[in-house]
Subunit: 243 residues, 2 copies
Amino acid sequence: MPPLTSTPLKASCSTCNLRELCLPADLSGSELERLEDLIGSKRSYASGEYLFRTGDSFQSLHAVHSGSFKTRVLHEDGREQLTSFLMAGEMIGLDAISADLHTCEAVAMEPSEVCELPFGQFEQLSREIPSLQRHLHKIMSRKIVRDQSIMLLLGSMRAEERLAAFLLNLSQRNAALGMISTELRLKMSRLEIGSYLGLKLETISRAFSRFQEEGLLQVKARYIEILDLPRLRILVENPKASC
Amino acid sequence: MPPLTSTPLKASCSTCNLRELCLPADLSGSELERLEDLIGSKRSYASGEYLFRTGDSFQSLHAVHSGSFKTRVLHEDGREQLTSFLMAGEMIGLDAISADLHTCEAVAMEPSEVCELPFGQFEQLSREIPSLQRHLHKIMSRKIVRDQSIMLLLGSMRAEERLAAFLLNLSQRNAALGMISTELRLKMSRLEIGSYLGLKLETISRAFSRFQEEGLLQVKARYIEILDLPRLRILVENPKASC
DNA sequence: ATCGTATTTTGACATATATCAAGACGACAA
DNA sequence: TTGTCGTCTTGATATATGTCAAAATACGAT
Protein backbone atom coordinates (compact mmCIF):
# COMPACT_ATOMS: atom_id res chain seq x y z
CA MET A 1 0.00 0.00 0.00
CA PRO A 2 1.16 3.53 -0.73
CA PRO A 3 1.88 5.75 2.27
CA LEU A 4 -1.05 7.20 4.14
CA THR A 5 0.07 10.70 4.92
CA SER A 6 2.06 13.74 4.00
CA THR A 7 5.24 14.95 2.46
CA PRO A 8 8.51 13.84 4.02
CA LEU A 9 12.02 14.34 2.67
CA LYS A 10 15.60 14.73 3.89
CA ALA A 11 16.45 16.75 7.00
CA SER A 12 18.80 19.58 8.14
CA CYS A 13 18.56 23.21 7.02
CA SER A 14 19.48 26.88 7.18
CA THR A 15 16.72 29.39 7.94
CA CYS A 16 14.14 26.72 8.28
CA ASN A 17 13.90 23.05 7.59
CA LEU A 18 11.93 24.05 4.58
CA ARG A 19 15.00 24.12 2.44
CA GLU A 20 15.44 20.41 2.26
CA LEU A 21 12.38 19.11 3.99
CA CYS A 22 9.72 20.36 1.72
CA LEU A 23 11.46 21.79 -1.25
CA PRO A 24 13.30 20.54 -4.27
CA ALA A 25 17.02 19.95 -4.24
CA ASP A 26 17.40 21.29 -7.75
CA LEU A 27 17.25 25.02 -7.09
CA SER A 28 20.32 27.14 -7.73
CA GLY A 29 21.86 29.07 -4.86
CA SER A 30 20.23 32.33 -5.85
CA GLU A 31 16.86 30.69 -6.34
CA LEU A 32 17.10 29.19 -2.91
CA GLU A 33 17.90 32.59 -1.48
CA ARG A 34 14.82 34.10 -3.06
CA LEU A 35 12.76 31.29 -1.63
CA GLU A 36 14.17 31.72 1.84
CA ASP A 37 13.49 35.44 1.71
CA LEU A 38 9.90 34.56 1.21
CA ILE A 39 9.60 32.28 4.20
CA GLY A 40 8.21 34.05 7.22
CA SER A 41 9.62 33.57 10.66
CA LYS A 42 9.33 30.25 12.40
CA ARG A 43 6.49 30.24 14.91
CA SER A 44 6.01 28.01 17.94
CA TYR A 45 2.78 26.34 18.96
CA ALA A 46 1.94 24.78 22.30
CA SER A 47 0.37 21.37 22.46
CA GLY A 48 -3.32 21.75 21.70
CA GLU A 49 -2.91 25.16 20.10
CA TYR A 50 -4.68 25.80 16.78
CA LEU A 51 -2.71 26.64 13.67
CA PHE A 52 -6.00 27.58 12.01
CA ARG A 53 -9.69 26.78 12.27
CA THR A 54 -12.35 25.91 9.74
CA GLY A 55 -13.47 29.08 8.00
CA ASP A 56 -10.31 31.07 8.73
CA SER A 57 -9.15 33.02 5.73
CA PHE A 58 -6.22 31.59 3.84
CA GLN A 59 -2.98 33.47 3.37
CA SER A 60 -0.20 30.98 3.72
CA LEU A 61 0.76 27.38 3.51
CA HIS A 62 2.56 26.04 6.55
CA ALA A 63 5.42 23.60 6.78
CA VAL A 64 5.93 21.67 9.99
CA HIS A 65 9.46 22.33 11.18
CA SER A 66 9.33 20.31 14.38
CA GLY A 67 6.65 18.55 16.39
CA SER A 68 3.39 17.40 14.87
CA PHE A 69 -0.14 18.45 14.02
CA LYS A 70 -3.46 16.83 13.35
CA THR A 71 -6.09 18.09 10.93
CA ARG A 72 -9.78 17.57 11.47
CA VAL A 73 -12.90 18.15 9.41
CA LEU A 74 -16.17 18.91 11.12
CA HIS A 75 -19.67 17.88 10.14
CA GLU A 76 -22.72 20.06 10.86
CA ASP A 77 -24.05 17.65 13.45
CA GLY A 78 -20.88 17.59 15.51
CA ARG A 79 -19.34 14.46 14.11
CA GLU A 80 -15.72 14.90 13.19
CA GLN A 81 -13.05 13.06 11.30
CA LEU A 82 -9.31 13.36 11.67
CA THR A 83 -7.93 13.59 8.16
CA SER A 84 -4.18 13.66 8.73
CA PHE A 85 -1.33 13.57 11.16
CA LEU A 86 1.52 15.82 10.03
CA MET A 87 5.15 15.43 10.98
CA ALA A 88 8.30 17.47 10.38
CA GLY A 89 8.73 18.47 6.75
CA GLU A 90 5.07 18.06 5.87
CA MET A 91 2.84 20.75 4.43
CA ILE A 92 -0.45 21.97 5.92
CA GLY A 93 -3.21 23.98 4.31
CA LEU A 94 -3.44 22.80 0.70
CA ASP A 95 -7.21 22.43 1.00
CA ALA A 96 -7.60 26.16 1.59
CA ILE A 97 -6.34 27.23 -1.82
CA SER A 98 -9.62 26.13 -3.31
CA ALA A 99 -11.77 28.87 -1.79
CA ASP A 100 -9.26 31.01 0.13
CA LEU A 101 -10.81 29.58 3.28
CA HIS A 102 -9.62 26.78 5.49
CA THR A 103 -11.93 23.79 5.22
CA CYS A 104 -10.47 21.96 8.18
CA GLU A 105 -8.70 22.82 11.40
CA ALA A 106 -5.12 22.08 12.39
CA VAL A 107 -4.04 21.53 16.00
CA ALA A 108 -0.57 20.97 17.45
CA MET A 109 -0.22 17.58 19.13
CA GLU A 110 2.91 18.56 21.06
CA PRO A 111 5.08 21.67 21.26
CA SER A 112 5.78 22.38 17.61
CA GLU A 113 7.32 24.86 15.20
CA VAL A 114 5.97 25.91 11.85
CA CYS A 115 7.29 27.92 8.90
CA GLU A 116 4.92 30.16 7.05
CA LEU A 117 4.82 30.37 3.26
CA PRO A 118 2.74 33.29 1.99
CA PHE A 119 0.95 31.62 -0.86
CA GLY A 120 0.60 34.59 -3.19
CA GLN A 121 4.33 35.24 -3.13
CA PHE A 122 5.00 31.56 -3.44
CA GLU A 123 2.89 31.38 -6.60
CA GLN A 124 4.70 34.43 -7.95
CA LEU A 125 8.08 32.86 -7.35
CA SER A 126 7.01 29.54 -8.78
CA ARG A 127 6.10 31.32 -12.01
CA GLU A 128 9.70 32.41 -12.25
CA ILE A 129 11.29 29.14 -11.18
CA PRO A 130 9.91 26.17 -13.12
CA SER A 131 11.39 23.57 -10.82
CA LEU A 132 9.70 25.24 -7.89
CA GLN A 133 6.42 25.26 -9.76
CA ARG A 134 6.80 21.60 -10.55
CA HIS A 135 7.59 20.89 -6.93
CA LEU A 136 4.44 22.58 -5.70
CA HIS A 137 2.38 20.56 -8.13
CA LYS A 138 4.00 17.39 -6.91
CA ILE A 139 3.29 18.25 -3.31
CA MET A 140 -0.38 18.78 -4.08
CA SER A 141 -0.59 15.68 -6.21
CA ARG A 142 1.09 13.60 -3.51
CA LYS A 143 -1.56 14.73 -1.10
CA ILE A 144 -4.20 13.55 -3.56
CA VAL A 145 -2.50 10.17 -3.86
CA ARG A 146 -2.30 9.72 -0.10
CA ASP A 147 -5.92 10.64 0.34
CA GLN A 148 -6.78 8.01 -2.24
CA SER A 149 -5.14 5.36 -0.16
CA ILE A 150 -6.90 6.52 2.98
CA MET A 151 -10.14 6.15 1.06
CA LEU A 152 -9.12 2.63 0.16
CA LEU A 153 -8.36 1.97 3.80
CA LEU A 154 -11.64 3.40 5.08
CA GLY A 155 -13.71 1.86 2.33
CA SER A 156 -12.35 -1.63 2.16
CA MET A 157 -10.12 -2.66 5.01
CA ARG A 158 -11.11 -4.22 8.31
CA ALA A 159 -10.13 -2.86 11.71
CA GLU A 160 -6.86 -4.71 12.24
CA GLU A 161 -5.73 -4.08 8.69
CA ARG A 162 -6.38 -0.40 9.12
CA LEU A 163 -4.36 -0.21 12.29
CA ALA A 164 -1.53 -2.21 10.77
CA ALA A 165 -1.47 0.08 7.74
CA PHE A 166 -1.44 3.09 10.02
CA LEU A 167 1.46 1.79 12.07
CA LEU A 168 3.45 0.85 8.99
CA ASN A 169 2.92 4.31 7.62
CA LEU A 170 4.16 5.95 10.82
CA SER A 171 7.09 3.61 10.79
CA GLN A 172 8.05 4.60 7.24
CA ARG A 173 7.74 8.26 7.99
CA ASN A 174 9.88 7.85 11.08
CA ALA A 175 12.47 6.16 8.94
CA ALA A 176 12.30 8.99 6.41
CA LEU A 177 13.13 11.41 9.22
CA GLY A 178 16.12 9.33 10.18
CA MET A 179 14.51 7.79 13.25
CA ILE A 180 14.30 4.14 14.17
CA SER A 181 11.47 2.65 12.18
CA THR A 182 10.53 -0.02 14.72
CA GLU A 183 9.97 2.28 17.66
CA LEU A 184 6.97 4.54 17.69
CA ARG A 185 6.15 7.19 20.23
CA LEU A 186 2.57 8.01 19.40
CA LYS A 187 1.49 11.58 19.96
CA MET A 188 -2.15 10.69 19.57
CA SER A 189 -4.65 8.92 21.81
CA ARG A 190 -6.59 5.79 20.91
CA LEU A 191 -9.59 8.03 20.42
CA GLU A 192 -7.73 10.07 17.81
CA ILE A 193 -6.40 7.02 16.03
CA GLY A 194 -9.96 5.75 15.96
CA SER A 195 -11.25 8.97 14.49
CA TYR A 196 -8.59 8.84 11.79
CA LEU A 197 -9.24 5.20 10.94
CA GLY A 198 -13.02 5.34 11.16
CA LEU A 199 -13.18 3.12 14.26
CA LYS A 200 -14.01 3.46 17.96
CA LEU A 201 -11.27 3.71 20.55
CA GLU A 202 -12.18 0.35 22.06
CA THR A 203 -11.64 -1.27 18.70
CA ILE A 204 -8.21 0.32 18.44
CA SER A 205 -7.34 -0.82 21.91
CA ARG A 206 -8.44 -4.38 21.21
CA ALA A 207 -6.47 -4.44 17.99
CA PHE A 208 -3.34 -3.32 19.84
CA SER A 209 -3.88 -6.06 22.42
CA ARG A 210 -4.38 -8.63 19.72
CA PHE A 211 -1.21 -7.56 17.89
CA GLN A 212 0.65 -7.89 21.15
CA GLU A 213 -0.73 -11.38 21.80
CA GLU A 214 0.28 -12.35 18.29
CA GLY A 215 3.83 -11.14 18.90
CA LEU A 216 3.62 -8.43 16.26
CA LEU A 217 4.04 -5.54 18.66
CA GLN A 218 5.18 -4.66 22.12
CA VAL A 219 2.59 -2.17 23.36
CA LYS A 220 3.28 0.08 26.35
CA ALA A 221 0.55 2.68 26.17
CA ARG A 222 1.79 5.13 23.52
CA TYR A 223 5.15 3.55 23.16
CA ILE A 224 4.99 0.88 20.50
CA GLU A 225 7.73 -1.43 19.43
CA ILE A 226 7.27 -3.23 16.16
CA LEU A 227 8.51 -6.79 16.63
CA ASP A 228 7.51 -8.34 13.33
CA LEU A 229 7.44 -5.84 10.51
CA PRO A 230 7.11 -8.42 7.72
CA ARG A 231 4.10 -10.05 9.31
CA LEU A 232 2.52 -6.65 9.85
CA ARG A 233 2.92 -6.03 6.13
CA ILE A 234 1.37 -9.35 5.26
CA LEU A 235 -1.57 -8.47 7.45
CA VAL A 236 -2.21 -5.34 5.40
CA GLU A 237 -1.68 -6.94 2.04
CA ASN A 238 -3.37 -10.22 2.59
CA PRO A 239 -6.61 -9.83 4.48
CA LYS A 240 -7.12 -13.47 5.47
CA ALA A 241 -3.55 -14.17 6.52
CA SER A 242 -3.92 -13.70 10.26
CA CYS A 243 -7.22 -15.28 11.22
CA MET B 1 -21.76 18.67 3.58
CA PRO B 2 -19.35 19.84 0.90
CA PRO B 3 -19.68 18.18 -2.50
CA LEU B 4 -18.24 14.73 -2.94
CA THR B 5 -16.68 14.91 -6.34
CA SER B 6 -15.06 16.88 -9.07
CA THR B 7 -14.91 20.18 -10.80
CA PRO B 8 -18.06 21.34 -12.55
CA LEU B 9 -18.76 24.76 -14.09
CA LYS B 10 -20.83 26.34 -16.83
CA ALA B 11 -21.35 24.66 -20.21
CA SER B 12 -21.11 25.51 -23.96
CA CYS B 13 -17.81 25.95 -25.81
CA SER B 14 -15.67 26.40 -28.89
CA THR B 15 -12.95 23.84 -29.59
CA CYS B 16 -13.77 21.86 -26.53
CA ASN B 17 -15.92 22.34 -23.48
CA LEU B 18 -12.72 23.09 -21.72
CA ARG B 19 -13.05 26.76 -22.34
CA GLU B 20 -15.82 27.26 -19.86
CA LEU B 21 -16.12 23.92 -18.25
CA CYS B 22 -12.79 23.62 -16.57
CA LEU B 23 -11.11 26.90 -17.02
CA PRO B 24 -11.35 30.38 -15.62
CA ALA B 25 -13.55 33.01 -17.19
CA ASP B 26 -10.98 35.70 -16.62
CA LEU B 27 -8.58 34.98 -19.46
CA SER B 28 -8.19 37.52 -22.24
CA GLY B 29 -9.03 36.51 -25.79
CA SER B 30 -5.42 35.93 -26.76
CA GLU B 31 -4.75 33.98 -23.60
CA LEU B 32 -7.70 31.77 -24.34
CA GLU B 33 -6.39 31.21 -27.83
CA ARG B 34 -3.03 30.09 -26.53
CA LEU B 35 -4.78 27.72 -24.20
CA GLU B 36 -6.94 26.25 -26.91
CA ASP B 37 -3.90 25.73 -29.11
CA LEU B 38 -2.55 23.58 -26.37
CA ILE B 39 -5.56 21.35 -26.06
CA GLY B 40 -5.17 18.18 -28.07
CA SER B 41 -7.95 16.77 -30.13
CA LYS B 42 -11.08 15.48 -28.49
CA ARG B 43 -11.04 11.69 -28.21
CA SER B 44 -13.96 9.30 -27.88
CA TYR B 45 -14.14 6.35 -25.53
CA ALA B 46 -16.56 3.46 -25.61
CA SER B 47 -18.31 2.36 -22.48
CA GLY B 48 -15.89 0.28 -20.45
CA GLU B 49 -12.84 1.58 -22.28
CA TYR B 50 -9.84 2.63 -20.22
CA LEU B 51 -8.57 6.18 -20.30
CA PHE B 52 -5.49 4.99 -18.45
CA ARG B 53 -4.43 2.23 -16.09
CA THR B 54 -2.47 2.14 -12.87
CA GLY B 55 1.22 2.45 -13.69
CA ASP B 56 0.76 4.11 -17.08
CA SER B 57 3.13 6.97 -17.59
CA PHE B 58 1.68 10.42 -17.18
CA GLN B 59 1.72 12.99 -19.97
CA SER B 60 -1.57 14.81 -19.84
CA LEU B 61 -4.47 15.76 -17.70
CA HIS B 62 -7.86 14.95 -19.18
CA ALA B 63 -11.07 16.91 -19.05
CA VAL B 64 -14.34 15.08 -19.53
CA HIS B 65 -16.15 16.71 -22.41
CA SER B 66 -19.18 14.44 -22.46
CA GLY B 67 -20.17 11.20 -20.81
CA SER B 68 -18.68 10.00 -17.56
CA PHE B 69 -15.80 8.07 -16.04
CA LYS B 70 -15.01 6.26 -12.85
CA THR B 71 -11.61 6.04 -11.20
CA ARG B 72 -10.52 3.06 -9.18
CA VAL B 73 -7.55 2.28 -6.96
CA LEU B 74 -6.33 -1.27 -6.65
CA HIS B 75 -4.92 -3.04 -3.63
CA GLU B 76 -2.29 -5.79 -3.91
CA ASP B 77 -4.73 -8.47 -2.81
CA GLY B 78 -7.30 -7.63 -5.42
CA ARG B 79 -9.56 -5.46 -3.35
CA GLU B 80 -10.47 -2.26 -5.08
CA GLN B 81 -12.05 1.02 -4.24
CA LEU B 82 -13.82 3.42 -6.56
CA THR B 83 -12.50 6.87 -5.74
CA SER B 84 -14.53 9.11 -8.00
CA PHE B 85 -17.22 9.42 -10.61
CA LEU B 86 -16.41 12.14 -13.14
CA MET B 87 -18.91 14.04 -15.20
CA ALA B 88 -18.65 16.62 -17.98
CA GLY B 89 -16.27 19.44 -17.14
CA GLU B 90 -14.38 17.50 -14.54
CA MET B 91 -10.66 16.82 -14.56
CA ILE B 92 -8.99 13.41 -14.43
CA GLY B 93 -5.41 12.51 -13.63
CA LEU B 94 -4.27 14.94 -10.93
CA ASP B 95 -2.90 12.06 -8.86
CA ALA B 96 -0.37 11.23 -11.58
CA ILE B 97 1.57 14.49 -11.32
CA SER B 98 3.11 13.25 -8.12
CA ALA B 99 5.30 10.58 -9.68
CA ASP B 100 4.64 10.91 -13.41
CA LEU B 101 2.74 7.66 -13.13
CA HIS B 102 -0.96 7.04 -12.85
CA THR B 103 -1.83 5.70 -9.41
CA CYS B 104 -5.36 4.71 -10.32
CA GLU B 105 -7.25 3.67 -13.40
CA ALA B 106 -10.00 5.54 -15.22
CA VAL B 107 -12.77 3.79 -17.14
CA ALA B 108 -15.57 5.23 -19.26
CA MET B 109 -19.03 4.43 -17.89
CA GLU B 110 -20.82 5.25 -21.14
CA PRO B 111 -19.73 6.51 -24.56
CA SER B 112 -17.68 9.58 -23.64
CA GLU B 113 -15.42 12.28 -25.03
CA VAL B 114 -12.30 13.65 -23.42
CA CYS B 115 -9.99 16.58 -24.09
CA GLU B 116 -6.32 16.12 -23.53
CA LEU B 117 -4.16 18.71 -21.78
CA PRO B 118 -0.45 18.01 -22.16
CA PHE B 119 0.70 18.82 -18.66
CA GLY B 120 4.17 20.12 -19.42
CA GLN B 121 2.83 22.68 -21.85
CA PHE B 122 0.05 23.51 -19.47
CA GLU B 123 2.56 24.25 -16.72
CA GLN B 124 4.55 26.37 -19.14
CA LEU B 125 1.53 28.40 -20.08
CA SER B 126 0.41 28.78 -16.50
CA ARG B 127 3.79 30.33 -15.72
CA GLU B 128 2.96 33.02 -18.24
CA ILE B 129 -0.67 33.51 -17.28
CA PRO B 130 -1.11 34.02 -13.54
CA SER B 131 -4.86 33.52 -13.56
CA LEU B 132 -4.40 30.20 -15.30
CA GLN B 133 -1.85 29.20 -12.70
CA ARG B 134 -4.21 30.15 -9.93
CA HIS B 135 -6.97 28.18 -11.61
CA LEU B 136 -4.89 25.03 -11.75
CA HIS B 137 -4.09 25.36 -8.08
CA LYS B 138 -7.75 25.77 -7.27
CA ILE B 139 -8.66 22.69 -9.27
CA MET B 140 -6.12 20.62 -7.36
CA SER B 141 -7.13 22.06 -4.04
CA ARG B 142 -10.79 21.44 -4.74
CA LYS B 143 -9.98 17.83 -5.34
CA ILE B 144 -8.28 17.73 -1.94
CA VAL B 145 -11.33 19.26 -0.29
CA ARG B 146 -13.68 16.79 -1.91
CA ASP B 147 -11.52 13.88 -0.89
CA GLN B 148 -11.65 15.16 2.67
CA SER B 149 -15.38 14.96 2.66
CA ILE B 150 -15.35 11.47 1.24
CA MET B 151 -13.08 10.53 4.12
CA LEU B 152 -15.59 12.02 6.51
CA LEU B 153 -18.30 10.03 4.79
CA LEU B 154 -16.38 6.76 4.86
CA GLY B 155 -15.07 7.26 8.37
CA SER B 156 -18.12 8.47 10.21
CA MET B 157 -21.40 8.08 8.38
CA ARG B 158 -23.73 5.15 8.36
CA ALA B 159 -25.00 3.38 5.26
CA GLU B 160 -28.15 5.41 4.57
CA GLU B 161 -26.41 8.68 5.29
CA ARG B 162 -23.70 7.78 2.83
CA LEU B 163 -26.16 6.97 0.09
CA ALA B 164 -28.14 10.12 0.79
CA ALA B 165 -24.97 12.23 0.61
CA PHE B 166 -24.03 10.52 -2.63
CA LEU B 167 -27.40 11.19 -4.24
CA LEU B 168 -27.43 14.80 -3.10
CA ASN B 169 -24.01 15.25 -4.60
CA LEU B 170 -25.10 13.82 -7.95
CA SER B 171 -28.16 16.01 -7.83
CA GLN B 172 -26.07 19.16 -7.29
CA ARG B 173 -23.71 18.29 -10.06
CA ASN B 174 -26.61 17.63 -12.40
CA ALA B 175 -27.96 21.03 -11.50
CA ALA B 176 -24.54 22.59 -12.18
CA LEU B 177 -24.68 21.11 -15.67
CA GLY B 178 -28.09 22.62 -16.24
CA MET B 179 -29.98 19.36 -15.81
CA ILE B 180 -32.96 18.71 -13.59
CA SER B 181 -31.63 18.17 -10.09
CA THR B 182 -34.37 15.80 -8.96
CA GLU B 183 -33.99 13.25 -11.72
CA LEU B 184 -30.97 11.03 -11.78
CA ARG B 185 -30.00 8.57 -14.46
CA LEU B 186 -27.28 6.59 -12.77
CA LYS B 187 -24.50 5.31 -14.95
CA MET B 188 -23.19 3.03 -12.22
CA SER B 189 -24.39 -0.26 -10.77
CA ARG B 190 -25.24 -0.87 -7.12
CA LEU B 191 -21.96 -2.73 -6.91
CA GLU B 192 -20.07 0.35 -8.05
CA ILE B 193 -21.96 2.66 -5.74
CA GLY B 194 -21.13 0.24 -2.95
CA SER B 195 -17.46 0.23 -3.82
CA TYR B 196 -17.43 4.01 -3.81
CA LEU B 197 -19.28 4.29 -0.50
CA GLY B 198 -17.49 1.45 1.27
CA LEU B 199 -20.58 -0.78 1.39
CA LYS B 200 -21.85 -3.98 -0.22
CA LEU B 201 -24.30 -3.88 -3.10
CA GLU B 202 -27.04 -5.47 -1.02
CA THR B 203 -26.73 -2.68 1.50
CA ILE B 204 -27.10 -0.11 -1.27
CA SER B 205 -30.12 -1.90 -2.63
CA ARG B 206 -31.78 -2.05 0.77
CA ALA B 207 -31.10 1.62 1.39
CA PHE B 208 -32.74 2.49 -1.92
CA SER B 209 -35.76 0.39 -0.99
CA ARG B 210 -35.98 2.03 2.40
CA PHE B 211 -35.79 5.52 0.89
CA GLN B 212 -38.59 4.57 -1.43
CA GLU B 213 -40.76 3.25 1.42
CA GLU B 214 -40.11 6.49 3.28
CA GLY B 215 -41.26 8.52 0.31
CA LEU B 216 -37.86 10.12 -0.23
CA LEU B 217 -37.25 8.61 -3.65
CA GLN B 218 -38.93 6.95 -6.54
CA VAL B 219 -36.57 4.16 -7.57
CA LYS B 220 -36.84 2.47 -10.96
CA ALA B 221 -33.58 0.58 -11.28
CA ARG B 222 -31.08 3.22 -12.34
CA TYR B 223 -33.61 5.93 -12.81
CA ILE B 224 -34.06 7.77 -9.54
CA GLU B 225 -36.47 10.56 -8.82
CA ILE B 226 -35.86 12.59 -5.71
CA LEU B 227 -39.21 13.27 -4.09
CA ASP B 228 -38.15 14.94 -0.89
CA LEU B 229 -34.87 16.79 -1.22
CA PRO B 230 -35.10 18.63 2.12
CA ARG B 231 -35.65 15.44 4.07
CA LEU B 232 -32.77 13.81 2.23
CA ARG B 233 -30.59 16.69 3.39
CA ILE B 234 -31.77 16.31 6.96
CA LEU B 235 -30.87 12.66 6.80
CA VAL B 236 -27.28 13.53 5.94
CA GLU B 237 -26.93 16.35 8.41
CA ASN B 238 -28.73 14.89 11.35
CA PRO B 239 -27.86 11.24 11.84
CA LYS B 240 -30.72 10.33 14.19
CA ALA B 241 -33.46 12.13 12.29
CA SER B 242 -34.86 9.20 10.33
CA CYS B 243 -34.89 6.22 12.68
C1' DA C 1 -40.84 -10.68 -29.39
C1' DT C 2 -37.81 -14.07 -26.95
C1' DC C 3 -33.99 -15.74 -24.96
C1' DG C 4 -29.90 -15.43 -22.07
C1' DT C 5 -27.20 -12.77 -19.02
C1' DA C 6 -26.33 -9.36 -15.69
C1' DT C 7 -28.29 -6.63 -12.22
C1' DT C 8 -31.28 -5.87 -8.50
C1' DT C 9 -34.22 -7.08 -4.74
C1' DT C 10 -35.35 -9.55 -0.70
C1' DG C 11 -34.88 -12.89 3.05
C1' DA C 12 -32.47 -15.57 6.68
C1' DC C 13 -28.55 -15.66 9.09
C1' DA C 14 -23.47 -14.56 10.43
C1' DT C 15 -20.13 -11.49 12.07
C1' DA C 16 -17.37 -7.33 12.82
C1' DT C 17 -17.58 -3.49 15.19
C1' DA C 18 -20.15 -0.40 18.34
C1' DT C 19 -22.01 0.41 22.76
C1' DC C 20 -22.22 0.30 27.62
C1' DA C 21 -19.98 -0.43 31.82
C1' DA C 22 -16.38 -1.40 35.07
C1' DG C 23 -11.92 -1.53 36.45
C1' DA C 24 -6.79 -0.78 35.71
C1' DC C 25 -3.18 2.00 34.63
C1' DG C 26 -0.29 6.09 34.25
C1' DA C 27 0.88 10.87 34.76
C1' DC C 28 0.81 14.58 37.60
C1' DA C 29 -0.14 17.56 41.77
C1' DA C 30 -0.24 18.09 46.42
C1' DT D 1 3.27 8.78 49.46
C1' DT D 2 -1.65 9.45 48.18
C1' DG D 3 -5.28 11.08 45.40
C1' DT D 4 -7.26 12.64 41.09
C1' DC D 5 -8.08 12.69 36.29
C1' DG D 6 -7.73 11.26 31.86
C1' DT D 7 -6.64 7.36 29.12
C1' DC D 8 -6.59 2.64 28.22
C1' DT D 9 -8.09 -2.18 28.65
C1' DT D 10 -11.39 -5.71 28.96
C1' DG D 11 -15.92 -7.97 29.22
C1' DA D 12 -20.86 -8.56 28.08
C1' DT D 13 -24.10 -7.43 24.89
C1' DA D 14 -26.35 -4.86 20.91
C1' DT D 15 -26.57 -3.63 16.23
C1' DA D 16 -25.32 -2.39 11.55
C1' DT D 17 -23.67 -4.33 7.84
C1' DG D 18 -21.91 -8.42 5.51
C1' DT D 19 -22.70 -13.05 3.57
C1' DC D 20 -25.15 -16.51 1.20
C1' DA D 21 -28.92 -17.81 -1.53
C1' DA D 22 -32.93 -17.48 -4.39
C1' DA D 23 -36.18 -15.09 -6.97
C1' DA D 24 -37.47 -10.98 -9.70
C1' DT D 25 -36.41 -7.68 -12.92
C1' DA D 26 -34.05 -5.17 -16.55
C1' DC D 27 -31.30 -5.25 -20.69
C1' DG D 28 -28.95 -6.55 -24.93
C1' DA D 29 -28.58 -9.68 -28.77
C1' DT D 30 -30.63 -12.58 -31.91
